[in-house]
């Protein structure tokens, strides 16, 4: 690439002929000292069909051919999930993540904590999601300039600079239809020209000068049940993982404190940087100056001593006949004790064995699909009514001649229960200091299935 052009002459400026000579005499260091460059060197975005659709270099340019090692590993791994996140090549190390059908492949030259890079790449993907509503190839291609500006702000010389969404949004305004219209008329830009004040203060996550006419603070307590249920219906492993997602639209610099009725339930907690750790340690109160907008306040695990009430049960009968090309499939889902709440949004997905050709089933409720390529059966049940339990029953067609699948597939269940935190966690009160107005406060509880698996 280099040197393919004729020596370009500037249009208006003719350097003194001797000036050029002087410069030529200078020994050029180029390429000599590359040995110690830390952190992220380059980033390639690759879609599922193996096209590199975006590349960004923070230091000198690394050729696309480095991705060949990645493709090689991808081929070896068969499915995308198994591509190793860290690949070693003769001159570089590739650390990649897979998000929303895109591989984010970063090129590293020297020792670096791999989690550092992985966490950062996820932050990049989160930011795209935040800016464009989705983190997809088309969204990135459509907004390539903003993507570039973002990457430029997020990383300097391969070291993260600004990753906080509140700050980025002050530096580079997210695209909206209105703004793009305005910009095209007035010629103004999406780029902020002052340093976000947050960068310098002790609260880098909050932007300054926030103003709302309606001041609101919402907290969603979302709990997920991770469980493995064995064949006989007994619980092998169950655990409750929760998060509190917040949507805070408050003017000025509110100082909030959130307290729980039963904070002892929380066994292991991770905090948004805004939370004052000390207050939590001493009083078990969440005290913080919130970022503006949506963010995850805490995530927690409920201590494992507590028995987890599993809200659904599954009756299943899956069998494959020896020396025949068919099998039977019969699954019923029912609610257990739920404190009077209904279980809704129930979806069951099953990865059927490879030998399965097709399935002929009847569902008493909801609809099912079977993808003969990926062998995934999805049954969208909806709400469970205790009076009439949903059931899916029918025949499984197997490849003739293939050996009988040895193991029955496990069933992955998703469900949702509104207005219930399965652990019993309850928010006691929310107080606001530092501002005079009275905000509208809201707390919502929801329980979901996390990694909920029934072995059959």
């Amino acid at each position: 690439m280099r040197g393919s052009l004729p020596p370009a002459e500037p249009f208006t400026f003719q350097p003194h002929p001797e000036a050029r000579d002087i410069r030529r005499e200078l020994p050029r260091h180029r390429g000599k000292h590359r040995q110690r460059q830390k952190m992220i060197h380059s980033l390639f975005l690759i879609n599922c069909s193996g096209d590199i659709f975006l590349e960004k270099h923070w230091k000198s340019v690394v050729s696309q051919s480095v991705c060949d090692y990645f493709f090689e590993a991808q081929e070896k791994a068969i499915d995308v999930e198994n591509v190793p996140p860290v690949i070693s090549t003769p001159h570089h190390y590739l650390i990649s993540i897979y998000r929303d059908k895109i591989f984010f492949v970063s090129v590293i030259q020297t020792e670096v904590p791999p989690l550092f890079v992985i966490e950062f790449l996820h932050r990049v993907a989160d930011t795209f999601q935040d800016y464009f509503g989705e983190c997809s190839e088309t969204a990135i291609k459509d907004n390539v300039v903003i993507v570039y500006e973002l990457l430029e702000e997020m990383l300097d010389n391969g070291f993260p600079l600004a990753t906080e969404s509140n700050i980025l949004k002050e530096l580079i305004k997210p695209p909206t239809i209105l703004r793009s219209v305005v910009n095209s008329i007035t010629g103004s830009s999406n780029v902020g020209d002052t340093l976000p004040t947050g960068q310098l203060s002790n609260i880098p996550w909050r932007r300054a000068g926030v103003k709302y006419t309606n001041n609101e603070a919402y907290f969603d307590v979302i709990e997920e049940i991770d469980a493995i249920i064995d064949k006989s219906g007994s619980t092998v492993f169950a655990e409750i993982q929760g998060v509190i997602d917040s949507c805070i639209k408050l003017s000025g610099m509110p100082d909030l404190s959130l307290s729980f009725m039963n904070p002892r339930l929380l066994d292991d907690v991770s905090f948004h940087p805004c939370i004052r750790f000390k207050r939590w340690e001493s009083e078990r109160v969440l005290s913080f100056i919130p970022p503006d907008g949506n963010f995850r306040l805490i995530s927690y695990r409920v201590s494992s001593q507590n028995l987890v009430a599993i809200p659904v049960y599954v009756k299943h009968m899956i069998s494959f006949k020896e020396n025949s090309s068919s099998g039977r499939f019969d699954v019923t889902i029912g609610p257990k004790q739920n404190m009077g709440k209904t279980v809704e949004g129930v979806v069951m997905t099953v990865h059927m064995p490879k030998a399965v050709l097709n399935m002929n089933l009847t569902a008493t409720q909801g609809s099912y699909t079977f993808d003969p390529v990926t062998k995934v059966l999805t049954w969208d049940v909806g709400k469970i009514t205790p009076q009439k339990l949903p059931n899916l029953k029918g025949i499984v067609n197997l490849q003739s001649g293939a050996p009988k699948p040895e193991e029955n597939p496990s069933l992955n269940i998703q469900f949702k229960i509104q207005q219930l935190a399965i652990s019993g966690l309850k928010v006691n009160r929310l107080d606001m200091y530092g501002e005079k107005y009275k905000p509208f406060k809201g707390v919502k509880y929801i329980t979901k299935a996390g990694k909920f698996q029934v072995r059959t």
Partner: protein, 1024 residues
């Protein structure tokens, strides 16, 4: 070389503004001609060029957006370089930013043209907006053009003393870039790093440690004094910085503290926090006590305590960093606290899981107990990717013990049936390992594995065979039945490893299955030619072993097999055949060895150890890339072993050592500002506030977990007290220097009028610097500052950049008036950094050497009288005034002759050498109109009538700089031309050198501090 580069950079710097000015209304006639150059290139970029030439910003922006799109796709857009680079000075900030993006990508390829943009950045470096300053520095340092190294160096030095911590942060980033561009700058860069390490801003800490790790990771000594500060700031540093700092501190701690592991049981720990921050004296006292039992160094404890809250971070990298810190540094009894957090990370996405599981795998080998309570969290789900499954399995196997093995085996049973055969095979391996490790279950496992031999899947069977073989080898006693069973399987199994394993087993234990073994040999002899190499080798050994034990039945068969092997395609097999034949078939050549053939072949073989693949990984630091790859990555820094004897812990005390007093006194000035000074007080207080707030914040953060059990109120107080302790600690050096600074302060309060006058003088240049200050202070004031403490916490040199320079003016101004020698001596050494002036560029490199020379001069004589020293050393360093290119062949250099000026004692004498490099005479060289700041005067040199081609002439002139470092700009004129030139004096050149003994110095110093206390103007006079 660097001189050349320097010169050129300067030249470009002057020339490029012209370009930028012309570039704006750009439809000049020269354009079509330039287009002609590209006509041979692809036409498709023609429209982009036209758009870039257009006068409308929107068109330019569109063009730039398309170009960035091209870069993003990896297309070559380098031919647009000249068109793009002209827009670098665009007013539109978005265009500007996109041009920056372009520049960073292509500057390296088009170095010549990239130089045109440098001056824009240099100007932007002086911009009042800190964001613009910072981004200019970022781009400037990202342009990988070796010629601009000196400019970068200068920019970094300046930025490292910037008022804005954001700019300083960027300076720290730039250090790494410059270092990778030109490692020869290392020494200078280390100086900057050293300075930035002292920075109290949380914003800077992470970046500078990063730079430290990259440039000079072995200079542990730079960390000592900053260790406690870093520990205390850690909670408030942004998350990425935390990771870097924690890794660095892990390495540091391993070299500075003794191992807490040896005497884990009898740790006497100092939990009483009161002791901790008490005066250094007491601490030293404590350290002097020879410890019989192990006592953890309080600094060691500080690190552990301050990192613990970070386990609660949402950032997986931070959690992992703390986990590895505890693993490598904490007493074994405490390392357990990290497991909960690591297990939490397993809820994260698969990449994080992968890395965390790997680290847990390594940990769980050495300390099972840590993760035993979380056994079930490692249970495998069918939806996990295979790599996660195998890692979880690995951990489960490591955690297996007598108590949980039955549950685990039940779990394994499910896994064996998995559709994922690779995983099923791994499970069988795991069962094998459990069987060898836990003797109680060996038989159960073996039976289970034998059952698996009838599995339909070949990989499962093959794996079982291999594992059974290993198991049998560990206890071969009475397993004839199993061997027989396996021999029967041989007909059906096709996987080479499995077949080879069976054959080996039969050969090894052929005496236990005397009837079957020859039959197996017969069968395999038949299929020999179709077997895999691996199997062939085993057939050969089986034959050999049978020949030795049962030669009657198998002699012919073995010979047949050996013959087959002799003509095999693989040389390995031919070799083996030859070797075996020589060994077992007796002939005259075979010699002594064949006597021992039986012993050789049927020797007792040690059983293989079934080990975890993670066993040897712990020699890599956890959480590193090397650990993940299990091989040394480039740039991996080895974690040193604990020292046997701890190095002196006093090095971390932030206290001025006696010997360094004189220096720190001087250095201290750069760091310290007079809080009383009205003129700058606004910005200063702001700075102080924010600094102290952050200090308190960080302190309280760390406090919280010291006093786990105590209640909030007591917490609060101890936090603040210790914070002030801490700050006084670290600033003792600056306090010392207050005394010396007194001189300046006193006189300022003294001479009001003089001050006013000085202000007036400096007004012109203050406009630029004070607008700077104002803007940043206003920004700061908008940010919330809760706890306002008016402790005189240090405002670092950065803040004093603009302040000191003007202060200096004031001081020197009246110093001259009173003509006080000792003040001349004490004054003005404070500025070790190039002073920013609107045009400052070239002098920085020569500054410090000349200053050092001055200082040397000072300490030379031992006389008790203060003399004005005559020059012992006049640096020959000349500065360029006019480059021959800009001067159309006339070049001019100047240097400071350091002689009393003949034109008057306010004048600094400057020698100017003008050289004619053209081939014509230059006539009437003289000084033209001068644009001088108020109060400055120039004594012109006598015009040079005529300068022959190649000739040069030296003249001397005098400039009264008014004791400021402002630039004197004037015109150098020839008969038919005139050139604008500047002279900027380094601070040292404005001084009068004096000599005094150390004693005298101290005396003078003492007087001054007394003065300060009295703050009485007349006292000052009397003393003088």
């Amino acid at each position: 070389m660097s001189g050349n580069g320097h010169g050129y950079g300067e030249q470009a710097g002057e020339a490029a503004p012209e370009l930028a000015q012309e570039a704006a209304p750009t439809t000049a006639p020269s354009v079509p001609a330039a287009f002609g150059l590209f006509s041979s290139d692809t036409k498709k970029n023609e429209d982009l060029k036209q758009m870039l030439e257009s006068s409308k910003d929107s068109a330019k922006l569109d063009a730039m957006k398309r170009i960035v799109g091209m870069i993003a796709k990896g297309k070559n857009a380098s031919e647009l370089f000249p068109a793009v680079v002209k827009n670098v000075a665009s007013k539109n900030i978005e265009i500007k930013k996109l041009v920056y993006v372009y520049l960073m990508r292509y500057a390296e390829e088009q170095q010549d043209l990239a130089l045109l943009s440098i001056s824009t950045f240099q100007r932007a470096l002086k911009d009042p907006n800190q964001l613009i300053r910072a981004s200019a520095l970022r781009v400037l340092s990202s342009i990988r053009v070796p010629i601009i190294v000196p400019i970068m160096m200068l920019a970094i030095k300046e930025a490292s003393s910037d008022l804005s911590p954001y700019v300083r942060k960027n300076a720290a980033h730039a250090i790494q870039k410059l270092y990778s561009l030109d490692p020869e700058q290392k020494e200078m860069l280390i100086e900057v790093i050293e300075k930035l390490l002292k920075d109290r801003s949380t914003l800077v800490a992470g970046s500078v440690v990063m730079a430290f790790e990259e440039v000079c990771p072995d200079r542990i000594d730079l960390i000592h004094k900053n260790y406690r500060k870093l520990c205390n700031l850690l909670v408030d540093v942004e998350e990425w910085g935390q990771v870097v700092i924690i890794h660095m501190l892990t390495r540091y701690a391993r070299t500075q503290f003794i191992s807490p592991w040896k005497t884990d049981d009898d740790i006497v720990e100092e939990h009483s926090e009161n002791n901790f921050y008490e005066s250094d004296e007491e601490q030293k006292e404590k350290d002097r006590n020879v410890k019989k039992t192990y006592t953890m160094d309080p600094d060691h404890r500080l690190l552990l305590r301050n990192t613990k809250p970070l386990l609660q971070s949402r950032n997986a990298a931070v959690v992992m960093a703390v986990a590895q810190l505890y693993w490598h540094l904490a007493p074994k009894s405490e390392a357990g606290i990290v497991s909960k957090s690591l297990v939490r990370l397993l809820r994260s996405n698969r990449e994080v899981q992968y890395i965390v599981l790997q680290n847990i795998a390594t940990m769980s080998i050495q300390r099972k107990g840590m993760f035993e309570p979380y056994l079930k969290s490692f249970y495998v789900r069918s939806t996990d990717p295979t790599m996660i499954k195998t890692l979880k399995l690995e951990i489960l196997t490591n955690l297996a013990n007598e108590a949980n093995i039955s549950t685990l085996l039940r779990e394994f049973q499910t896994y064996v049936k998995s559709q994922d055969k690779q995983f099923a095979a791994a499970t069988i391996q795991a069962i094998g390992r459990c069987a060898t490790n836990i003797t109680e279950v060996t038989d159960t496992c073996l039976n289970g594995l034998v059952c698996l031999l009838s599995n339909r899947d070949e990989t499962v069977v093959a794996e079982s065979v291999v594992v059974i073989k290993k198991l049998l080898q560990t206890q071969p006693a009475h397993h004839g039945e199993i061997i027989k069973h396996m021999a029967k399987l041989l007909d059906n199994i096709t996987v080479p490893v499995a077949r080879a394993s069976i054959l080996w087993l039969i050969g090894e234990y052929c005496e236990r299955v005397p009837k079957i073994a020859p039959d197996v040999l017969r069968k395999t002899a038949k299929s020999f030619t179709n077997e895999d190499d691996l199997v062939k080798l085993q057939i050969l050994s089986l034959g050999a072993k049978l020949y030795l034990t049962n030669s009657k039945q198998t002699k012919l068969l073995t010979q047949y097999v050996l013959n087959l092997g002799k003509y095999d395609q693989s040389y390995d097999i031919r070799d083996r055949t030859r070797f075996i034949r020589q060994l077992i078939v007796p002939n005259e050549k075979s010699g002594a060895l064949s006597k021992y053939a039986k012993k050789i072949f049927l020797a007792q073989k040690p059983a293989p150890l079934l080990e975890s693949p993670f066993k040897d990984r712990d020699h890599f630091q956890l959480g590193t890339l090397s650990h993940t790859l299990n091989s040394r990555a480039t740039g991996y820094l080895e974690l040193s072993d604990w020292p046997d004897v701890a190095p002196d812990p006093a090095v971390r005390n932030v206290e001025v050592a006696e010997s360094a007093k004189e220096w720190t006194a001087i250095l201290g000035k750069t760091k310290k500002e007079k809080p009383t000074e009205k003129f700058y007080s606004e910005s200063e207080e702001e700075e102080d506030e924010s600094a102290s707030t952050s200090a308190t914040e960080s302190e309280s953060g760390s406090e919280s977990e010291k006093e786990d059990k105590e209640e909030g109120s007591s917490d609060e107080s101890s936090a603040s007290s210790s914070s002030s302790e801490e700050s006084s600690d670290s600033e003792s050096d600056s306090k010392e220097s207050i005394a010396k600074k007194a001189s300046g302060a006193v006189k300022e309060s003294n001479a009001e009028e003089i001050k006013r006058k000085a202000k007036g003088i400096s007004k012109t240049r203050n406009t630029s610097s004070s607008s700077d200050t104002a803007s940043s202070s206003s920004e700061e004031s908008s940010s919330d500052s809760k706890s306002v403490s008016d402790s005189r916490s240090d405002s670092d040199s950065g803040k004093s950049r603009s302040a000191t320079s003007s202060k200096k003016e004031e001081k020197t101004a009246q110093d001259r008036k009173t003509a006080s020698k000792q003040d001349v001596f004490l004054l003005d050494l404070d500025d070790f950094h190039p002073v920013t002036t609107p045009v400052a560029v070239p002098t920085a490199a020569v500054l410090s050497p000349s200053l050092t020379a001055d200082l040397e001069g000072l300490s030379l004589s031992g006389s008790s009288v203060i003399d004005v020293t005559t020059q012992v050393f006049v640096p020959t360093k000349t500065h360029e005034m006019l480059h021959r290119m800009t001067g159309k062949g006339l070049s001019a250099h100047y240097h400071f002759s350091r002689q009393p000026d003949m034109f008057g004692d306010h004048m600094v004498s400057v020698q100017v050498t003008v050289t004619n490099t053209t081939d014509q005479k230059i006539e009437n060289i003289h000084i033209g109109e001068a644009k001088l700041p108020l109060g400055m005067r120039i004594h012109e040199f006598n015009p040079i009538e005529c300068l022959e081609p190649g000739g040069s002439a030296t003249v001397s002139m005098g400039i009264d700089f008014c004791d400021s470092t402002q630039t004197a700009s004037f015109q150098l004129c020839t008969k038919d031309d005139h050139f604008n030139v500047n002279i900027q004096p380094p601070v040292g050149e404005l001084l009068l050198p004096v000599t005094m003994s150390e004693k005298d110095f101290k005396k003078e110093q003492a007087c001054l501090s007394a003065l300060y206390l009295l703050s009485n103007p007349r006292d000052a006079d009397r003393n003088e």
